[in-house]
């Protein structure tokens, strides 16, 4: 007999209750209130909690919840669910859209059935990403509607609305969240959950054969162009538009998303009235409403988070209408060209672009006569198996000659291998790129030794095709797969190699070594990442191998291992430094830099509360001064 699961408060079926929820929980809630049937995602900050929040909904409300192997496959799965007439959602971080762009630019032509909502969380300021690309640009390319919430409460409403809109239009709808919505918390009044029974049923239609003969792609493209008028009408009447037309206003601001939040706060201290149009759909921008709000003003400022997506449209709309007003924003230098928006930037723009006077002038930064502060970069955690692997890799690379090795890095916790004390990354782009680069460096004819370092989930996401390419084209390279059995960077989500699904049931685990052999690697080794000597030996062989070598350094993520110990009611057994044996050489600290190691000025020490008992430092200490026992 199963016990009834108590839902987390943001998933409760109790309309009218106020719950303080995370933006990503609000997005999940909105989908459930719209009758969600199918949800999938690949983890990525700041979007991960959207799917995480939906996992309990699998048992509670019968929603199908999946982690996808990558964004593209997830998107395709969600498209399929919609083609069965279901309500489907796929969520990802902004760079995930680069992966889905290929099928997205075909599905926009075919259209969908049911509904398909693509939620994208942008990262303006690029705190957790390799860039700060603005998802709203995809609107121009895909000619699809984009909704942009200002805060968690509106995100809930917009996601629910996006399902309705998608179903009505028969098109995918994109919701652009961003870190200050996804990772903000706010009280949200719960609405009723909608539970439309899923009746999956496929209907054949020639539209679904987008690439078919007879100019179908052109016909569908022309049709999508024609439908832009319809999207524009939706944008004009969008219930998330806010129009303020105070008496005597001589200037106007057009804004969307979080920009509206900063604007409201700064305008509270403005001495002159300002017309404000906040749009719910930054693509396509509501041309008629924009013409209306600027009628009779002397200047327009566009306030938006990200690129000048709205600004470009406002300028085009006014030009088309023969309105010769100055439109100011990022392109005119009135808003900062890069980075995250803040109230100060909006305040400065209102003064410089519109000549407003503010009651709350910007205050100078606090004058603290501070000494130079050491930087705090992210580091590998105490007990991280990647640290041991990088230690061994460094010894091997230094024997070859560091300057004779090209080190290709990838996306994940192991990208910290670029930092001291390892500094083992020379080039790093995006998911899976390490292996593609290694393939090209080798086959393009460089005589240096070529390495790729890639994590298990990234390998499955985007590394396999590159590995096949490397093997097929005869690359000589060492591909080091640092396999900690989880998507660690985003908080330990399972993946196909873990052998556990999002909702906890077992799946047949993908065996990376079998995959590597099948891809055509000439040498495949699996080794325990904590065993430095063994990793070094295997890597040395791999470097000498005249072909494509794959080394899988395997050991569970330390955070996951600690959690597993705690589940068993056990604690790690920390190591300690024997002060009589410590020679003060600091090798453990300077060569490993484990956060559990300390230095009191005379001898090394181990912070028992931090130590995971991995024992890697005992292998590094030349004096044998590190022993078990707290």
């Amino acid at each position: 007999m199963s016990t009834k699961l108590r839902p987390p408060d943001y998933l409760a079926d109790s309309p009218g209750t106020t719950v303080v929820m995370l933006g990503n929980q609000a997005i999940a809630r909105g989908a459930l209130e719209a009758g969600l049937h199918f949800a999938t995602a690949y983890p990525g900050t700041p979007s991960t909690e959207i799917l995480l929040s939906l996992i309990p909904a699998a048992d509670l409300y019968g929603v199908r919840v999946e982690w996808a192997v990558n964004e593209k496959v997830g998107f395709e799965a969600a498209v399929a669910a919609s083609l069965l007439g279901l309500r489907a959602m796929v969520s990802m971080k902004h760079v995930g859209v680069n992966w889905i762009s290929d099928p997205l630019l075909a599905v926009n032509l075919s259209g969908i059935r049911g509904s398909l909502v693509v939620v994208v969380a942008d990262d303006p300021g690029a705190r957790s990403s390799h860039n700060e690309q603005d998802t709203r640009y995809w609107g121009f390319l895909a000619e699809l509607p984009i909704l942009e919430p200002v805060d968690p409460a509106e995100a809930r409403d917009m996601v629910a609305e996006a399902f309705e809109l998608s179903e009505r239009l028969g098109l995918p709808v994109i919701v652009r969240s961003q870190v200050r919505v996804s990772h903000a918390r706010q009280p949200v009044v719960l609405g009723p959950l909608s539970r439309v029974e899923a009746r999956p049923c496929f209907e054949r239609h020639e539209r679904l054969l987008v690439t078919g003969a007879g100019g179908r792609a052109l016909r569908l493209h022309a049709e999508l162009h024609r439908r832009q008028e319809e999207l524009l009408r939706v944008s004009e009447s969008c219930r998330f538009n806010r129009l303020q037309v105070p008496q005597g206003a001589e200037v106007a601001v057009v804004t969307s998303g979080v920009g509206y939040g900063y604007l409201q706060e700064v305008l509270a201290g403005a001495r002159q009235p300002v017309r404000v149009l906040k749009v719910g759909m930054p693509f396509p921008a509501p041309a008629g409403t924009i013409r209306e709000v600027v009628d009779g003003v002397r200047a327009v400022l566009v306030v938006e988070e990200g690129e000048p997506v709205l600004e470009l449209q406002v300028r085009a709309i006014l030009q088309q209408a023969g309105i010769g007003l100055p439109v100011r924003g990022r392109h005119t230098g009135h808003m900062p060209p890069v980075g995250e928006l803040d109230a100060e930037a909006v305040g400065r723009a209102l003064q410089a672009a519109l000549g407003l006077e503010l009651d709350t002038p910007e205050l100078p930064a606090g004058e603290a006569a501070l000494p130079p502060l050491p930087r705090r970069d992210l580091t590998m955690c105490a007990g991280c198996p990647h640290r041991a692997t990088f230690y061994a890799l460094k010894r091997v690379v230094e024997r070859v000659g560091r300057h004779r090795c090209i080190m290709c890095g990838d996306i994940g916790c192991y990208s910290f291998g670029s930092q001291p004390p390892f500094e083992l990354v020379d080039v790093k782009y995006t998911m899976g790129a390490s292996v593609g680069l290694a393939s090209g460096f080798s086959t393009a004819g460089v005589s240096d030794r070529v390495f790729a370092v890639i994590g298990d989930s990234t390998f499955l996401h985007a590394g396999i095709a590159a590995l096949i390419n490397a093997a097929y084209n005869g690359a000589r390279a060492v591909v080091l797969v640092v396999d900690n059995g989880t998507v660690a960077m985003t908080g330990q989500q399972p993946h196909p190699g873990t052998g556990v699904r999002a909702t906890g049931e077992r799946a047949k685990p993908v065996v990376l070594e079998e995959l590597a052999r099948a891809a055509g690697a000439g040498l495949v080794w699996v080794v325990d990442a904590y065993d430095i000597e063994a990793v070094e030996k295997v890597l040395t062989e791999a470097v000498e191998f005249d072909g494509l070598a794959v080394v899988i350094a395997r050991r569970a993520c330390a955070l996951e291992a600690m959690r597993e110990l705690a589940r068993q009611g056990r604690r790690p057994q920390p190591y300690r430094v024997d002060e009589d044996l410590c020679t003060s050489c600091q090798a453990c600290i300077t060569e490993l830099a484990c956060p559990a190691l300390g230095w009191d000025g005379n001898v090394a020490s181990i912070i028992a509360a931090e130590c995971t008992g991995c024992g890697v430092c005992t292998q590094v200490c030349p004096a044998g001064a590190i022993t078990k026992g707290g």
């Binding site: 903000a184 918390r185 300077t590």
Partner: protein, 203 residues
């Protein structure tokens, strides 16, 4: 009566900034006030900086506190408090600081120098209207649970008399967020923080 209050909390991953924010937000809802929080996620577990912008009351429209707009800064770690606290503390605001520092990687590997806690605290005194040193980690250690340093700090914060709700309201809210079985320890840490601030004010 001005029911608005902006609190900037900063520390390093694992110090409980999110729990602290959550308790304050629940208290605000109990008091019938608007609230919004902006958190830094991702990477905090890997030795990164953790921040929380806790915005209570009508002013809360934007997700983050404007420069020099925080009524209080709660610094759970002195190096991070010194790095970003001065940007946010408003003239005359209250600055609470836990006098511990977690050395970053560059310090561990001997490439950079870690300034002394006292040096940083005295520099911060010049930017805050009031600065109180609350040895939250040390006190939590004495209670046998280092993880409760954030609760000690919450107790200290409520004693500063800047929050638009009372200590009882905050304590009740806090209790909603703590794991079952840890209620007594949390109450004890909360009370210890209140007492520590009262003592600091008398000095």
């Amino acid at each position: 009566m001005d029911k608005a209050c902006d609190i900037y909390a900063v520390g390093v991953g694992g110090q409980g900034i999110m729990r602290l924010s959550e308790a304050l937000s629940r208290a605000a809802v109990k008091a019938g006030l608007e609230v919004r929080i902006s958190e830094s996620h991702g990477g905090a577990q890997r030795g990164g900086v953790a921040t929380g912008h806790i915005r209570i009351g009508y002013r809360a429209k934007a997700p983050v506190i404007p420069a020099r707009g925080a009524d209080a800064v709660v610094g759970m770690e002195v190096l991070e408090a010194a790095r970003s606290g001065p940007r946010f503390i408003r003239p005359g605001g209250v600055f609470l600081v836990n006098p511990i520092s977690w050395p970053p990687l560059g310090v561990l590997t001997g490439r950079e120098r870690l300034p002394a806690v006292e040096e940083l605290v005295s520099a911060l005194r010049k930017v805050a209207g009031r600065l109180y040193v609350v040895p939250a980690t040390e006190m939590a250690d004495r209670l046998g649970r280092r993880i409760l340093a954030n609760v000690v700090m919450l107790g200290a914060l409520v004693e500063c008399a800047i929050l638009p709700f009372d200590a009882r309201c905050l304590e009740d809210a806090l209790m909603e967020t703590v794991p079952a079985g840890t209620e007594d320890a949390n109450r004890e840490a909360f009370a210890a923080g209140r007492a520590a601030l009262r003592e600091a004010m008398e000095r």
